[in-house]
Structure formats: structure tokens, C-alpha cells
Amino acid sequence: MSVAVKKETGPTLIPFGPQHPVLPEPLHFDLLLEDEKVVGATPQLGYIHRGLELLCDKRDLADYVHVAERICGICSFMHGMGYCEAVERLFGVAVPDRARWLRTFWCELERIQSHLLWLGLAADALGFENLFMAAWRARELVVDVAEETAGGRVIFGSAIVGGVARDPDDETLRRCLAAMGPARDETLRLAEIMLRDATVVHRLARVGILSKEAAYRLGAVGPMLRASGHDYDVRRSGYAAYGEFDWNVIVEERGDCQARALVRLREIEESFAMLERIVARMPSGPVSVPVKGPPPPGESWMRVEQPRGEVLYYVRSNGTRQLQRFRVRTPTFANVPAMVEALKGASLADLPTIVLTIDPCISCTER
């Protein structure tokens, strides 16, 4: 005699994070699953909020650069520089040419080390330990150059209101370029592995697709937006020295994990090429101007392209040396809704890979 057993079926709700082997920082999702397929995801942030914005009215605006740099341990220079550029626009101060070009040099250096850091983390998430170690070994050569030129490996400490605090001579910059040659060669070798290894391709291709329309509608920024076919990069607005030499915006069309990986790997190569052009055209002269007295009452909105995408700095002055308000909208903050969209329809096993190819920075996001 056979007995028919009627199974109760329906979506299953399971938690993902905030502590998870693949997450370097805490992030939580309530995942709605049908079998192994993700049909919905609700994100939750808020585990490492530090209240850094609130410190702006307790510090002199020149000292606050030290706080701005510590919003993130990966994009520290760009946070410091973006804040400084916002304050300088409020004052109406033009920084010297050499300072603008040095800022551009350090921005691209930071982009390379951030993307190599991402490559290592992504490889680690895929279980590819050799690739992880090789990527971070190449990154060491880049952070060595950061230390030699800016003074710090993680927190550069070289952005100041009115210019930059360090002035590496041209011979040092040329020597540093040469010292990074092996890192550039190694990156090409690692990129080939990342994009051609059958196991890696199986995990990345046609996984976590974000359509062109959804990427734009949901406010995606940076490589996540460009990997879905949008030719948009804030550096085109011409801040620092970006408007004064040729470079390419890297765009891919497929919108999957592999496209996001390819955008970042090509951006590393493009940034190495940009560093050569920057050093070749580095102007001479002073690297800072004094910025004294209180700023006028007013506000300033500054957009910068970080490794993870567009970041927006807002500063507001009430006419004193302590700012009334500072706010930073980070790229991961903008990318969370698009990340949720990319998860829909994916297999549960692919979720860590999708999250890693978005390269989230929760420390930045929660400030």
C-alpha cells in the first residue's frame, strides 16, 4: 500500500550574516528562499556605526581631515582629499598645480591597491588561496610606494586643506613607478587566471546579473554601474587633475559577476598607465597654500570617484572654523539596493560570490 505524503512548500526565511566566513565586515540579509533559489533579500546594516560625522563641529576644519581619512582604511586618501576639496571650494581656494597632480597620483595608487585587495578577497571567497596570496603580494609593492611617497601604507596622511603635506621629488616618483613594474606584470598574470580558469569562470559567468536599467534606476555607482553598461565615471567631471590628461572609462555590458571582475582588473591596468602619464607631466612648484580664517557661511557638494564608485561629500559652514555639518554618502551606501537586486534569482551558494564582486565596504557605509 502506498501512502501519498503531501509536502508543505513555500519560501523559507534564513539569516545570512552579520558574521559570515566570506564577509570581512558585518552585513546581514534576511534571505527568502525557494529551495536553493533566492527570491528576496532584505538587508540590514548598523553594526559598526561610529558617528564620525558628528565630530565635525568639535574640531577645527583643518584638523577634521584626520577624521575624514579614517572613515575607511582602504580609500583613506580619497576620503581626506574629497573632504579637503569640498572645504577648499567653500573657501574659494585654488590649490597649486603640483598638489592637484600629486593628489591624482595618490588617488590612482589607492585605486590599484584597493582593487588588488578586492581581487585577493574575491579569490579567497572562491577558495582560491594561491590567487589570494599572489594578489596581496603584488599589492604589497603598491603600498610600499604609498609609504615612500605619502608617508603611510594605509592612512596616507598627505591630504591637507590647501594642498598636500608631502612633496616627493620627481626622481622618487620615477623610481617608484619602476618599483611597481613587477606588480603590474603580476596583475596581468593574475587577471588571466581570474578570467580564464574554468572553476573561477564557472562561479562568475552569468551569476548575479544586474541589468543596465536596474543598475541605473537603483542608484548603482562605480564598477557595479559600469559593469552593467553605463559609461559614467565622476573623474570625468575633472576634479584634481583628471581633466588635464587622457584616460579611459572602463565599461562592460553583461552586468554579471565576471563583468564586475573584469572592470576592476582593467581599471588596475588603466590606473598603472595613468600613473605613468601623471609622473611624466608632474608640474613643479609649491604643494600647498595657507587657508586661514573662517570660511564664509555656505555649503559645498563634492563628488569623487573612489575604487568602489562615486562618493559625495557635503560640508556646511556657519561662518566659524567648526563645520555645522559634514556628511559623506559612500559608494556602498548607494550600491546596497542594487546588490539586493543582483541577489534575486541567484543560487544560495552563489551569494558570497555576488556580494564579493560588489566589493562592499561597510566601514565606509556606516561611518
Binding site: 532584505t42 538587508p43 540590514q44 546594516l45 548598523g46 556605526h49 558617528g51 558628528l54 576639496e85 569640498a86 571650494r89 567653500l90 574659494g92 541605473y216 534606476r217 537603483l218 542608484g219 559614467y232 565622476v234 570625468r236 567631471s237 576634479y239 564664509p296 557661511p297 555656505g298 555649503e299 559645498s300 557638494w301 563634492m302 563628488r303 569623487v304 562615486e310 559625495l312 557635503y314 556646511r316 555645522q324 555639518r325 556628511r327 554618502r329 551606501f333 548607494a334 546596497v336 539596493p337 542594487a338 556606516e366
Partner: protein
């Protein structure tokens, strides 16, 4: 905007004061023109919380602004721009602005701040041992 007040930016931008009731129709019109939400900003002022809705199209910014009076709720932008839910949850938790019908409402738990408004260290009290404190 007061005379002598400076507005600076890294690209072209315009700012316009609106009423809270105008927010959704204006945002809907901007969305149809291809603008997307870039940021919702809150600033504490004596008369309330100033909310600035920044929309971006390429490198241009368009900002709609109004002051939310204490105790008066404002509409959520999520029916037009679903991505606004993060900003609105944060503003609710850190500035105490009541925002109606957020698509993904974290109900005051974004940053697990004990009370809406600014964190006040001097008003913080630790739970007793009986209540589970250690």
C-alpha cells in the same frame, strides 16, 4: 537662502525650496526625465530638520529642499525611488524625522541608537545587574 550664503560644488547644480507636499510629484517628474536619487541629506536647524533631496543626471545635481517641522511627518520617496529607503531609515533614526511608508522600514533599528535624535552620552544609563547588565 540668505544673501552672502555660498553654494559650491564639483559640478553644475541647482537648488530649489519646495513644500513637503510637492516632493513626490516633483520627484516623479524628475525620475521620468532620467534623474536618479544621489542623496537625501538632513541638517538640524532651530526650526526643524532641513531635508535636501539631491538628484543626479550625469555630473549635474538638482536639489529639492524643505524644512520638516518637529512632529510633522514627511512622505517617503520610496514609491518613486525605491533606493531611498536607506537614507530615510538613517534620517529617521539619527534626526528623529517621522517618514511615512518607507518601503523597507527598519523601525528605528538602523544603527540601534537607543533614542531618536542625537546620541547624548550624559543621559546614558547602564542597565542594572538584575536587568541583565554586567
Amino acid at each position: 537662502m540668505n544673501e552672502g550664503y555660498k553654494l559650491a560644488g564639483s559640478g553644475p547644480m541647482t537648488m530649489e525650496s519646495i513644500g513637503p507636499g510637492d516632493l513626490l510629484p516633483r520627484a516623479d517628474a524628475l525620475g521620468k526625465e532620467g534623474w536618479r536619487i544621489v542623496q537625501i541629506l538632513a541638517v538640524s536647524l532651530a526650526e526643524g530638520v532641513e531635508l535636501s533631496y539631491a538628484f543626479g543626471l550625469a555630473h549635474e545635481l538638482r536639489i529639492l529642499r524643505f524644512v520638516a517641522a518637529p512632529g510633522s511627518p514627511v512622505p517617503s520617496l520610496t514609491p518613486v525611488f525605491p533606493a531611498a529607503f536607506l537614507y530615510e531609515n538613517e534620517i529617521h533614526d539619527l534626526f528623529g524625522v517621522a517618514i511615512e511608508r518607507i518601503a523597507v522600514d527598519w523601525l528605528g533599528k538602523t544603527y540601534d541608537v537607543a533614542e531618536p535624535g542625537r546620541f547624548d552620552l550624559m543621559r546614558l544609563s547602564l542597565p542594572s545587574v538584575e536587568e541583565g547588565g554586567r
